[in-house]
Subunit: 202 residues, 2 copies
């Protein structure tokens, strides 16, 4: 209804969230306005608090507290300072940390090469990556990107520009996910798993 | 990551939105924290503004501005003051207004009878409904509820308690939706459409 401007404003703001269409935003806005438990204020405060207290680490690009920049991941002495895990986004860093499979440093590119969407190498944090490799005496760069076309293009690009540096460059393995059976694995995954096979005594 | 308390708080608040699970809330929180266009502040302000300026109309239960209570729908003289459309929620009122199919007054029950979920008649705005029917000299109550079991139970309950009042009670029609073909209509809809048939010269 046109005269309910605050409701329309709220719906418009909610529809800017990822994966939220107009209909879902409308439903959310109505639920928020009807909520009796102060959810609007709770959510508003959580947003303001996050906005005030969280920043992107100037070193690795992960999400960190304003009071910890560079972040814990960049400064903790117990982490391997010569291994650098290159990821697309801060969300990836959280996922990898949760997996417990890596104990080095991180570097978020803040995107992937995507000429279709106007994302070129200058839009990624590549200069910063080269500078860190030199400054921090990085021994190995682990390209931790996905398997889509844009990730592959980004990996190829990184491998090329890093080929002139004295640094080992690796990419994470692609193959069968944990707990899966060959019978139910799709062709592309199986094909990459076979291509990426390793000798057992390695 | 445990040390990112503001991020966790934001994720928890987002996951309280309807239809938003933990994973989606996490993705939203990450997108918000990484957003470069100030979306967190925009959304927070929209929430605070809605929280401050919108209330439930004390008369009909629709969403209205704090400065307009009772709301426009309850006070506009051009609307038919003797027709009362009884709905479940304020969201229904917005839908009906958008349809342009009704020009009377509204009354939101704020729920449906649902013994399974502990919602009884006392939890709905039934007393207020009875009071309004008397005070406002309502001639017809149009029960505008859906077709599920709880809506049916609520409709039956309303018809019974209104049977002693001098007011006409009707319920909206159930049948084929606009633009549909008999061939593709489900059995329950078709059955209700046949049961609710009307003579053509009516």
């Amino acid at each position: 209804m046109q005269y309910l401007i605050p409701l329309d404003t709220l719906t418009a703001a909610l529809s800017r969230l990822p994966g939220i269409g107009r209909r879902t935003a409308e439903r959310m806005a109505m639920a928020l306005v009807q909520d009796q438990k102060g959810l609007m204020r709770i959510l508003a405060n959580a947003l303001l608090e996050a906005d005030e207290n969280m920043v992107t680490c100037e070193q690795c690009g992960s999400i960190t507290l304003t009071t910890k920049n560079p972040c814990d991941l960049c400064t903790r002495p117990r982490r391997d300072a010569h291994m650098l895990c290159v990821v697309e986004s801060p969300a990836d860093i959280i996922k990898i940390e949760e997996s417990g499979g890596f104990h080095g440093r991180y570097h978020a590119l803040m995107g992937r090469l995507s000429p279709m969407n106007g994302v070129g190498a200058v839009d990624l944090r590549v200069d910063k990556l080269l500078q860190r490799i030199a400054d921090e005496k990085i021994a190995e760069v682990i390209i931790t990107l996905g398997t889509d076309v844009e990730s592959d293009a980004t990996a190829v690009y990184l491998r090329e520009i890093l080929s002139t540096r004295s640094v080992k460059v690796s990419r994470i393995a692609f193959g069968l996910p944990a707990g899966s059976a060959v019978e139910y694995t799709d062709a592309a995954t199986l094909s990459r798993a076979i291509k990426g096979r390793r000798t057992i005594d390695e």
